[in-house]
Amino acid sequence: MPWARRMLVEERRWLSDEEFSEMLSLCQVLPGPNIVNMAVCVGTRFRGARGAIAAFLGLLSAPFAIVLALAALFTQYGELSAISAAFRGISAAAAGLVVAMGLKMASSRRLRSAMALFALAAFVGIALFRLPLGLFLLGAAPASIAAAAWRRR
């Protein structure tokens, strides 16, 4: 995302700083991969539906090909004990990246209130009880939004 910002705002000047932030906040509220949503938003803004499709394909084609090539190499050589040993270490580090992202977000000011209970409920329900996400969100999302509305009265 920092690279996307640099390209869109600083290099090509397609969007102002403010437009970028606004578009990003929309793309974060909507479900789906944020960066893909962002590409769709920018594409729509300049060339409608065809722009959205072009931006989508442009964003994903090359990384898609690269990751599949890596995966093919991995299947070919993954049996080698050196590769699988290295991947045990890489997997452990990759897990750490997710943990850090979660902790970073947990320090958000939106969690410095009773609203943090919804974060706790999501963790317990999904991580410990392994509830299906759809079922959980059907109950938790409306409740959490209602609580937010009540707090802002």
Partner: protein, 174 residues
């Protein structure tokens, strides 16, 4: 084969609409569906694909492409990636056309206030589950913790940390 393609399409297009805050928040649900429900792969394999997607350039939804590829080859990769992007992209396309009108609207703020805490909880759940799936030794847990601590306290590029993890693994520590 075609049965698993249909299953991939159905599962991931539903995930697409639940992925508030990005794909990482549906990591636990992906894990549940792929490992627990369909038994397409083991937890360790799931963690490996995730690591591969993280180490590769590009957005982290590529883990979905890899899952599709593992389950049903190239067709699976295309179907899974398309499925996880299409519903949310169509929604974004429609909403982005009307969103300007609701600039600064109060309910917009309320929706964000409400969704962020749930998203954070899901993100933490994802970290917990992927750690359990990836780590099978004390040293591995240490690598996970050290990586997280480094990300939180420095501005080092994540690829260096993945590289350091790989090196530790290669030398037989993990």
């Amino acid at each position: 084969m075609s049965e698993s393609l249909v299953q991939l399409a159905v599962d991931f297009s539903l995930l697409s609409l639940f992925a508030f805050g990005g794909v990482i928040t549906v990591l636990p649900e992906m894990h549940r569906s792929v490992v627990d429900v369909h038994a397409w792969m083991s937890g360790a394999e799931f963690a490996q694909l995730f690591a591969l997607a993280q180490a590769s350039p590009g957005p982290n939804i590529l883990v979905v492409s890899l899952i599709g590829w593992k389950v049903a080859g190239l067709a699976g990769a295309v179907v899974a990636t398309g499925a996880v992007c299409a519903p949310s992209s169509v929604l974004t396309f429609v909403i982005s056309k009307v969103w300007q009108r609701f600039r600064g609207a109060r309910w917009r703020q309320v929706v964000e206030d409400g969704l962020v805490p749930v998203t954070v909880g899901l993100m933490l759940a994802g970290g917990y589950l992927i750690t359990l799936a990836a780590d099978h030794s004390v040293v591995a847990f240490f690598v996970t913790a050290a990586t997280a601590a480094t990300v939180l306290t420095t501005r080092i590029h994540p690829l260096w940390l993945l590289g350091a993890g790989g090196l530790l693994g290669l030398t037989g520590w993990v």
